[in-house]
């Protein structure tokens, strides 16, 4: 990640190590997990909300 190379305090959030379709024409929307995505969205939005209001 470019931010790590310049020593920024950065985190990388992913679950890509689990998806066998990455970088293939089969990486399509029908294979995504809606429940999981919503949880991740909640987690990231809350993180930004809290950090920006400390």
């Amino acid at each position: 990640m470019s931010f790590w190379e310049k020593d920024y305090n950065a985190v990388f959030i992913t679950s890509f190590y689990k998806n066998p379709f990455i970088h293939t024409p089969k990486d399509t929307i029908d294979k995504l997990n809606r429940e999981f995505l919503l949880k991740v969205a909640r987690a990231i939005t809350l993180t930004l909300l809290v950090l920006a209001n400390e």
Partner: protein, 272 residues
């Protein structure tokens, strides 16, 4: 006696939810729309590929217009030259109301790649998911009070040598801004188990060691991380940082923990 029991019950109730966020935060989180997130992913996939200059510019315009709807966001293109072509990152800034100079960056790459990159590279998971989540977060935070500044940055050309993010970071370094933390969201929509290819000595070890092994293989840098299990053991999210900046990883865990989604932390082995 009844009064005593009532008070005791109240105390127990309070103890059972010590980590709950305020109603304001809960209300904000309830506004997150699964439908919006999926519509964005569907729209990004509809470009067929996000690999070529022409397609990436179309996607950049789509993102720009999506963010421009919110008056509180300052939206603009961050252009750079590569291979004699002009490429665009898209930036939306939500200025802080008290500590403007304290900045957090939330970023995701919007381009895609596949074995047929010029014809079909849908990139639904990689990385329409990250873009869709940050668009939704931006739409919500645009309407919410923020003391500090949040920059939402959408990068081009990640799949072609991280050109977009390298350009942005090099420029950022010259500005001497007070960047408190960066959150990069990349490929966060797939849940499945049993797909790893692991060396034999790791097969018997726990999921934590497997995740760590794979993350190290892919990221190829010393890192530490925690894994969030969302009740279902197959729903695992990796939050990785690099030494010596463990602070932000721990901070994110402490923020997310009180969410009522069954999150549990497994702190991975520190390396490097």
């Amino acid at each position: 006696m009844l009064l005593f029991l009532f008070i005791l019950l109240q105390i127990q109730c309070c103890r059972s939810m010590p980590n709950n966020y305020s109603k304001i935060y809960q209300d904000i989180l309830n506004k997150i729309s699964e439908k919006n997130i999926f519509n964005t992913i569907k729209n990004l996939q509809a470009f067929k590929t996000r690999y070529t200059l022409e397609k990436q510019n179309q996607v950049a315009e789509y993102l720009y217009n999506s963010l421009k709807k919110y008056d509180s966001l300052n939206v603009f293109y961050d252009c750079y030259e590569a291979n004699n072509k002009l490429w665009k990152n898209v930036i939306a800034i939500r200025k802080g109301e008290q500590n403007r100079n304290k900045v957090y960056i939330a970023c995701a790459h919007y381009d895609s790649i596949s074995s047929k990159p010029f014809i079909f590279a849908p990139g639904a998971d990689d990385n329409a998911t990250g873009v869709a989540i940050l668009l939704e977060a931006a739409s919500i935070l645009a309407k919410t009070r923020c003391k500090s500044t949040i920059k939402f940055v959408f990068f081009s050309n990640e799949e072609q040598g991280h050109k977009g993010s390298k350009h942005y970071v090099e420029k950022l370094k010259t500005k001497n801004e007070n960047i408190k933390g960066v959150i990069n969201v990349d490929t966060v929509g797939f849940v499945c188990s049993g797909l790893f290819t692991l060396p034999p000595d790791l097969k018997k070890k726990g999921i934590l060691h497997k995740v760590f092994y794979l993350a190290k293989q892919i990221i190829k840098k010393p890192l530490f991380y925690f894994q969030l299990g969302f009740k279902n053991p197959n729903q695992i999210l990796l939050v990785a940082g690099r030494p010596p900046n463990r602070f932000l990883v721990e901070k994110i865990y402490s923020i997310i923990k009180p969410l009522e989604v069954g999150i549990k932390k497994n702190v991975g082995p520190q390396c490097g």
